[in-house]
């Protein structure tokens, strides 16, 4: 199957998002594990990036002029793998190998194993720092590359995220965008009950970031917030994307029971029916 083309057409993006959701539930069911709930909340964000916003060459994944993307919430790897496959970085058929011992699709992304990845991740809290390093390198080299980092809202509990937030503002990294997939859940419960940032927008602003808040499942809102940049010397940009964990499959949305337990065969059938609109 040919790679999907980039588009600004919301209907076309919706169609790609639906395909990616099917990929996610199929590959995690096949693997018998994998964080499909956290993957499903990030689908529109990733599709907006890879099918609209980011500059890259699937046939030349190491092209120095490309924009960079770091999945700091590395447990959403199934979503990223599905998007990379659909964007043409590797065969879609390889998605079924997720988590197998001979697979390039590790449980959490490992950059030297798979073309299309820009950084490894999995240990939460590190991606924004790596993004700061990439944004600094792009500026030193006079490259126009932009850097996008996707974080989870639970992940913001890692102190290193705020070290990186300070650094990005201090270094004036207008080529860096952090997106927070705010699905409001972490492993054992709701973020707001476990360890919330009282005022996330205010916190990021006080750290020196330009902040916007969008519906993380709305392509028009995502495209609007992700487009362009502030240019060199500007403020780093944060997009808080309000999302639903498990989005797209009604009976699992926001249901903690499904945090990481694999979908049983019956659930899988129901999930596919949900995505087909039945």
């Amino acid at each position: 199957m040919a790679a999907h083309r980039r588009t600004t057409d919301p209907a076309r993006l919706e169609e790609i998002a639906r395909t990616v959701r099917e990929d996610i539930i199929s590959m995690t069911a096949e693997a018998g594990s994998g964080h499909y709930m956290s993957s499903l909340s990030a689908v529109e964000i990733l599709v907006a990036l890879y099918f609209h916003e980011l500059s890259y060459r699937p046939e030349d994944p190491a092209w120095p002029g490309r924009d960079r993307f770091i999945l700091s919430k590395g447990h959403a790897a199934p979503a990223l793998y599905a998007v990379l496959a659909r964007a043409g970085f590797f065969p879609v058929g390889e998605l079924a190998t997720l988590r197998r011992i001979d697979s390039r699709l590790q449980g959490h992304p490992v950059v030297h194993r798979l073309p299309g990845l820009d950084a490894s991740s999995g240990s939460l809290g590190q991606g924004l720092s790596t993004g700061v390093g990439m944004a600094l390198a792009a500026r030193m080299d006079g490259r126009g590359s932009r850097v996008f980092v996707l974080l989870g809202d639970g992940e913001l509990q890692e102190g290193q995220v705020w070290e990186a937030a300070m650094a990005a503002a201090r270094f004036g990294l207008g080529n860096l965008t952090a997106i927070v997939d705010q699905n409001e859940f972490q492993a054992t419960g709701r973020v707001r009950e476990i360890m919330p940032v009282a005022d996330l927008e205010g916190a990021l602003r006080s750290f020196g970031w330009e902040v916007s808040s969008v519906d993380g499942h709305s392509f028009p809102e995502l495209l609007h917030s992700l487009t362009g940049g502030n240019g060199p010397g500007g403020k780093p940009r944060a997009v808080i994307a309000r999302t639903v964990k498990g989005c797209g499959i009604g009976f699992i949305e926001g249901n903690l029971k499904y945090h990481s337990a694999p979908l049983a065969p019956g659930d899988l059938k129901r999930a596919r029916e949900c995505l087909e609109g039945r």
Binding site: H112, A119, T130, V132, G133
Partner: protein
């Protein structure tokens, strides 16, 4: 007998070597955790201000920023105090730098007991064990200025992570300006046949003093500069073990997981000979003079000589 009074300043040699290498290689950048006047990367900062990044007091961020720079083709040198760089940022070093064999160089200073007065929190006695345990990482402890220069050049040329351990303390000048680091061979700094002493950094001077004392008793101790803990110079260790029949490791580090452990792991499997490990034995340091701490924690020349005597007696029995 070697002159035991000619000292070198390895941190300053590091700062100058960075400037020299950076003049030839525009990809070299330096990341500092706001200790550049102590690590001597301030020498680099003055020469190349646009390639010097002070991230403040944030070691975890520092290491991952370096990873991002390396993923973009830079050769980042990360430098701070050993205990904080290797300790606080260990998991960043493991999961982000070493997992992908990223081209990040960690040059950590003030290792061992060299920050005597600052006490236990600032003394790094576990860094070699921490770094040695991670796949892809190399661990080097250069002894003097010429070795630092040569090791920094090696680090620039190697494509992958390297941990370079430096002391705050002045060290003994061992080599000439033409010295060339060879990771497969430990230089012999004192000849001898009865025992091989594998020492590194500041411990080389203590080992040489011990060798001098032992010579008066008719014991001939060979002293080697064990500049590299990983990869271990296996053939060199085995050859010296065969030639002398006795081995003593001497390190300003815990005996758990350090250079002595690396030697013992090899000898246990390949060529078991009687061995003693001189190092810190499951203890923290405390405030005090460095020499006082060597004495307190069992690292002084006196302790080294005692270990050798003990070993020779044990073998005779």
């Amino acid at each position: 007998m070697r002159d035991l009074t000619r000292c070198t300043h390895t941190r300053e040699a590091f700062g100058k070597a960075l400037v020299e290498e950076a003049g030839r290689n525009r990809d070299i950048v330096v990341i500092d955790g706001d200790v550049s006047s102590s690590t001597k990367t301030d020498i680099f900062a003055r020469a190349f201000p646009d390639r010097f990044i002070n991230v403040g007091i944030a070691e975890q961020n520092m290491v991952d920023i370096a990873a991002g720079l390396a993923l973009s083709g830079k050769i980042p040198f990360v430098s701070t105090f050993s205990i904080f760089g290797c300790g606080r940022a260990w998991e960043q070093i493991r999961n982000t730098v070493c997992l992908d064999n990223l081209n990040v160089k960690l040059v950590m200073t003030h290792a061992g007991l060299s920050l005597g007065g600052d006490g236990a929190t600032h003394q790094g006695l576990e860094d070699i064990a921490l770094m040695r345990a991670i796949p892809n990482m190399e661990v080097i402890v250069p002894a003097d200025d010429p070795e630092v220069r040569s090791v920094i050049r090696y680090a620039v040329e190697r494509d992958g992570p390297v941990y370079i351990r430096l002391s705050r303390r002045r060290t003994l000048l061992l080599f000439g300006d033409d010295y060339a680091y060879d990771h497969g061979e430990y230089p012999v700094v004192a000849e001898g046949d009865d025992v091989a002493l594998f020492a590194s950094g500041c411990m080389i001077r203590e080992a040489l003093i011990a060798a001098g004392e032992l010579a008066k008793e008719g014991i001939s101790a060979r002293v080697l500069d064990m500049h590299t803990v990983k990869p271990l110079a296996r053939e060199c260790v085995l050859r010296n073990a065969r030639e002398t029949g006795r081995v003593v490791s001497v390190e300003e580090h815990s005996v758990h997981g350090g250079a002595g452990s690396a030697i013992a792991e090899l000898l246990a499997e390949e060529y078991p000979v009687p061995m003693r490990l001189v190092g810190v034995r499951d203890r923290f340091g405390r405030s005090g003079s460095v020499d006082g701490l060597y004495e307190l924690l069992g690292l002084s020349s006196r302790h080294i000589a005692a270990a050798v005597r003990n070993l020779i007696k044990a073998k005779e029995r």
